[in-house]
């Protein structure tokens, strides 16, 4: 081969290589990158299609309209939110500039009545374009939601109220929240707010549970040890050279399991927890969805119990009383008390009750689903009775309702910020539970019994009086 021919072929090969690399790059882009690029909120195509469709309304369990869309003067649909910040963490928002969060994101295709894109559906949408989306009927009770938010009184914290027998969420509040209607004006302020209004504390706030965790430890003790054996509480217990104190160093004297729970005795639970062991505690925690992803209609964080870590006795003792490395979300705590109320079975929590087609047909109904076996009905009943005693004569008396047996547990969680979180988790009526409530007040600086229990009580009273 002569020099000229060889060089010509080199140039030809180089150009061919360039073209082939174009094809390879294009295919790579289409297979691996296109999906993410396409869904960028700056892609006007996403919106032009959506704004031609009447996005479905979102209504509460009684049919009250919470969010709806209406045609604006430039012939595209606009989204309206009726209750300011009340549903900021449940419904979320759908704005061209800021994208979507909450149910607006998770149920986007249903609200727009868009099917999965298959060639058949695309063909169908050309022939008969869909113009109206489905309506979401929530499990939320608007009155209870509004009432609960009012009870928080502007304090940072979260409330979850649900039906323990179906795990339908009646109310879910996270405060601070943000006004869905003024997002454009307030976006920057909200972004920069140190209290993080965007953060959903109810589903994703991982708090130290403090003494509320003792109901879990108690179930392990009940199943593994003798609940009636007497323990002498001196106001503190020393494990491996480290001292764990009772609240204000108070000595509770001779206590069994029930008395220890009623008085929220740290010494008892710390030493018994060590006896039960981290594996047993971890197993039980897992049975109540701790360390597991809770399936939910909006994203929820995973609660953690450190049983996979290499724990010393002191760590196990701390974990047994809900301190140390234990973190729980309010939603998860609501599942724990609902599980106890529901004969030990843990159900999947739900926010969406029904999906209703534009023609008014119910096209999907929320089915109750068990997600974990929890504990035996025997254990659940025993613990329930002890929790009733907590409210009747223990730390939770502020949650008591006249003529109704209320079960509950308080928690005052020490945390690195210095000011403790106040917890209350409980349900009522104990014999035929209809409402389960969890209240967390972030950095309340007060006890669960004083700060959180009264709020929970009022919610339970309101729920029992108003829910049909």
């Amino acid at each position: 081969m002569n020099k000229e021919l060889r060089r010509i072929l080199i140039i030809l090969t180089s150009i061919c290589t360039l073209f082939v690399s174009l094809i390879v790059y294009m295919s790579y882009f289409q297979i691996f990158r296109a999906e993410a690029v396409k869904n960028n909120s700056y892609n006007k195509r996403l919106w032009i299609d959506e704004e031609k469709i009447l996005r479905g309304s979102i209504i509460d369990r009684n049919g009250k309209i919470l969010a709806y869309s209406e045609k604006s003067n430039d012939d595209i649909y606009k989204r309206f939110y009726n209750y300011g910040g009340l549903y900021s963490h449940i419904i979320g928002y759908s704005y061209r500039e800021y994208g979507k969060v909450g149910l607006e994101l998770e149920y986007n295709n249903i609200l727009l009545n868009i099917d999965e894109t298959t060639p058949f559906h695309e063909l169908k949408s050309i022939v008969k374009p869909n113009t109206e989306g489905n309506t979401l009927k929530l499990t939320i009770d608007h009155h209870l939601q509004e009432y609960s938010r009012g009870l928080l009184g502007g304090k940072k914290g979260a409330i979850v109220a649900m039906d323990p027998k179906t795990a339908e969420v009646y109310a879910m509040v996270s405060f601070p929240d943000f006004n869905l209607s003024n997002l454009r004006e307030e976006w920057n302020d909200i972004m920069e707010d140190e209290d993080k209004p965007f953060f959903n504390r109810a589903t994703s706030g991982a708090y130290i549970p403090g003494s509320t965790f003792k109901v879990l430890t108690a179930m392990a003790i009940l199943e593994d040890l003798d609940p009636n054996s007497q323990y002498e509480c001196t106001g503190s217990v020393t494990i491996d050279g480290r001292t764990i104190n009772d609240y204000e160093g108070r000595a509770h004297g001779k206590v069994n399991l029930e008395e220890a729970l009623v008085k929220s005795c740290n010494s008892y639970f710390a030493s018994k927890g060590v006896q039960v062991g981290k594996d047993r505690l971890g197993k039980l925690a897992g049975d109540f969805m701790i360390n597991r992803q809770i399936p939910f209609d909006i994203p929820a964080a995973i609660s953690t119990f450190p049983n996979k870590e290499n724990l010393g006795k002191v760590d196990i003792a701390a974990a047994s009383i809900g301190q140390g490395k234990v973190l729980m979300t309010p939603l998860n705590m609501a599942l724990v008390v609902s599980g106890i109320a529901n004969k030990g079975e843990v159900l999947q929590p739900t926010l969406v009750k029904e999906i209703i087609s534009p023609e008014g047909e119910i096209i999907q109904n929320n089915e109750m689903e068990k997600i974990s076996n929890g504990v035996s009905i025997f254990t659940a009943n025993e613990i329930k009775n002890m929790m009733v005693e907590v409210v009747r004569r223990g730390t939770g008396t502020n949650a008591g309702i006249q003529n109704t047996r209320v079960a509950g547990k308080t928690g005052t969680a020490e945390n690195p910020s210095g000011k403790s979180h106040a917890w209350f988790a409980g349900f009522a009526p104990a014999d035929d539970p209809r409402i389960a409530v969890v209240v967390v007040l972030e950095e309340a600086g007060s006890t669960g019994g004083k700060a959180a229990a009264p709020i929970a009580r009022n919610i339970m009273v309101e729920a029992l009086n108003t829910l049909e």
Binding site: E4, I8, L18, F19, Y25, Q30, Y42
Partner: protein, 412 residues
Amino acid sequence: MFKRRINYRVPRNLLVLFELLALVLVFVYYKDDFNRNILMLGAALIAMIYIASFVLLRISSGDNYIFLIVTMLISIGIIMIYRIDPELGIKQIIWTGVGILLFFITYFIVKNIDGWRNWILLYGGASIGLFLLTLLFGNRIKGSLNWIVLGRFSFQPTEIIKILLIFLLASYYANHERYKRVQNSNYYLVGVLYLFIGFLFIQRDLGTVLLFYSIFSAIQFIYEEDRKLILYNALFFLISGIIGYFTFSHVRVRFETWLNPWIYIDNKGYQITQSLFAIATGGFFGTGIGLGYPDFIPEVHTDFIFSAICEEMGIFTGIGLIMLFLILVYRGFKIALNQEDKFFKIVALGISVLFGIQSFIIFGGVLKMIPLTGITIPFVSYGGSSMLASFMALGILQVASEDLDLEGIGDE
């Protein structure tokens, strides 16, 4: 002869079929303002292409595939342009007609005039003259000062200079023995190239800078005996590129929006991100003609036509377009290899590199594979200058594909 005609008839008929189907789709999309004129123009386009390829088969003994490939490219282009803006589509059909005419005119002139290899000074002089004309009378359109407006018409002199550059290079290397006697003549040639590049840089036409440099380097790589010079040329280009990056903000912008356009999505990264949205939305099969939103992309009918094609016809059509250019380049090289006459051999190489690199620069640019520099896709993008110059180049390539008995004028 008979067998040969059969061979060409099949692709020609397939092409007609493709055009019919695609035009029907476009007409369905614009069914509301459908009228007889549009139908006539559509029929005229098909007839024009069909007759031209038929005539070409009769008069030229050379390669008949390149014209077919080009008509396929034009068909895809016109369909897309018409779908984006019917008015521009009609204009493009007219430009195609004029282009085909110019193709035949160029073919006859280049074939019947002798002595192309000897007019090196004319090519150089004409190029510099056109550049100066652009500088003096040029209008800045879309950031590039490379248009001359004459009454109702505007044209880009650089389109012509591309061909002059190829002729210049071909006449230099075809008469290499003669010019070698002039000391350092090859350095003068590099000097001329950088003079051109300098002019283009003033016009801010970075895509064409890259194109000129590629054509020059390819020919130089094949024919330059002083291999050191090739290295110097590459180094010099690299260094001036780096200096350009730090001195000129419009060079820097190209790189920044290439590395990460998403952070500039509201301003300087807008075009390229809109292009990526379109390509991503199209998927493999596209949304279908008339069902996408290519008009979200600025300049979609010229530089970004490829993104529009990918959105509505899918990246399979996009890949098809790339393949068509690949075959066109391959045919061009084959023509060069079979050509005995050295001048036309080099011209064929130059034109093939021109088609190949020009399309690569803009394909890669809108895909964000390489920095984006505005340049048209030959035969596909909307635009008269680009269409006419491309057809002229094609006409010349057609001449080069024939057995020429121009030997013996005393170059070797």
